[in-house]
Amino acid sequence: MPDRDWSLVLFTTLAQWSAGIVLLLSWSLFSNTGPVFATVIGAGNPVLLALMLIAAATLSAFLHLGNPANAPKALNNLAGSWLSREILAIAVFSLSLFSTLVSGWLSGAGAALQYLLALSALCGLALLWMMARIYLVPTIPAWNNWHTPVSFILTTLNLGLCSLLVFQAAGMARIDDVLVNGLMTALMLTLFATTAAGLLHQLQLQKLNSCMHKPVFDRGPFFTVFLLRMALLLGAFLTIFYVLIHTTLLPESNYSAWLYALGSLVLAEEIAGRFLFYAAYFRTGV
């Protein structure tokens, strides 16, 4: 993978992380046992964190450009290019998040915040779809398949679910015990889906070939990172099992530490997964 593609690993992971936080916050606000979180502008505000993540994602995307001075021209081809549409979706998502942040700051947690957050979540979903469409091109067999949208959705859910659990551990949100257990179970399911999708895609990659390029997926650095990712996923599973089994026995400080460890494992696994995504690139033809 070229060094410049690291900025895309960061860009897509951070943007999907941000969309995941918004999506899960919005969904949980509409449930009966929704979380209570700070709406004042400060370090403990999850909406501000989501906004900072999308800002960091946008900055890292700039690092990929050879000529960032022309960046505003990336909106020139909205009619034909998914890349242009993605840039627009980032702007709209950021704007709606900013409105949510300001609304929460001015009026507190009310219906306005709830609906603005839902609007942001919809914008996040649109961004996710446009991001996935960029990679669905017929000349890149490793990307032009079911795995691209599925892996993007799973990254969003994994990081969103983990974030809510970490917010609870960090005191950024008060989440009902029933909802915490629900989040843990949901995370276990999405991690299982991530493992299954990763294994299936790996098998699919090993069967791919092209006219000239003969990429190697079943040994070497690519396969080493794949194994590392699977080990991280296993670590995340074991952590969830441990926390679920010992919830009532763990002192509060230990409980938080386990949730931080879970969050770190999932983030590392997602970065490894995104690295594999870009490293799998090869095009058909010459």
Binding site: R4, H64, L65, G66, N67, P68, N70, A71, K73, A74, L75, N76, N77, G80, S81, W82, L83, S84, I87, I134, V137, P138, T139, I140, S210, C211, M212, Y281, R283, T284, G285, V286
Partner: protein, 204 residues
């Protein structure tokens, strides 16, 4: 609408790479920039015939630049509209609009758009449009000592040279509709072919 195209005779090409050098010279391209490249395709080995072993090795060349496709995937996907198709079918890049995202290089199955790290923007074969405007031929066509390269309107080329062939390692032409007419080397259909100079034609 006119559709300018290249013609390449794989059987006539000696692999001297004068076309490649003429292109680099004309466009002042640095190391790693190969708007026209020559792929050396080889294959074959030893085969047993009765009680003896015979060799059936083969080699042919493929000179490839931008094919100024009918449905150029680079133009369709360029976020800034820096890539556009002229009325005569030439796909050109306006470097003043390019952001250097390299998406066109990702998606083009012919490796035509290439990133220039010095300028931070993409560059590609423009059919030597300035030469064409002056009534001259593209530099690669004029430089070829074997007369393996020609150019003109695609329909006229097909009439002159017959229907083109699809040879290894080119992709399915249905993807982008390349404007190229290729006369295949007699051994071009062999299944055991491979590109021998991948490192040489690797684009920066």
């Amino acid at each position: 609408m006119k559709r300018l195209a290249f013609y390449f005779d794989s059987g006539a090409c000696s692999g001297c790479k004068t076309c490649q050098m003429a292109c680099k010279d004309k466009h002042d391209l640095g190391p790693g920039q190969l708007w026209r490249r020559v792929y050396e395709v080889t294959g074959g080995g030893w085969v047993k015939q009765g009680s003896t072993w015979q060799q059936d090795v083969f080699a042919y060349n493929l000179s490839m630049s931008c094919n100024h496709c009918e449905d150029p995937i680079c133009v369709k996907n360029c976020p800034t509209r820096a890539l556009c198709k002229r009325a005569d079918g030439i796909v050109r890049i306006d470097q003043g609009l390019c952001i250097g995202c390299q998406y066109c290089a990702w998606v083009c199955p012919y490796g035509a758009p290439q990133f220039n790290p010095q300028t931070g923007v993409m560059g590609k074969c423009d059919f030597c449009a300035d030469y064409l405007d002056e009534g001259k031929n593209p530099s690669c066509v004029d430089a070829c000592p074997m007369r393996a390269l020609d150019f003109g309107d695609l329909e006229a080329l097909l009439e002159k040279y017959g229907p083109g062939d699809l040879i290894y390692p080119l992709p399915d032409p249905a993807i982008t509709g390349p404007s190229i007419c290729i006369r295949a080397h007699p051994q071009a259909g062999r299944a055991d072919a491979g590109v021998a100079n991948i490192e040489e034609v690797k684009i920066a």
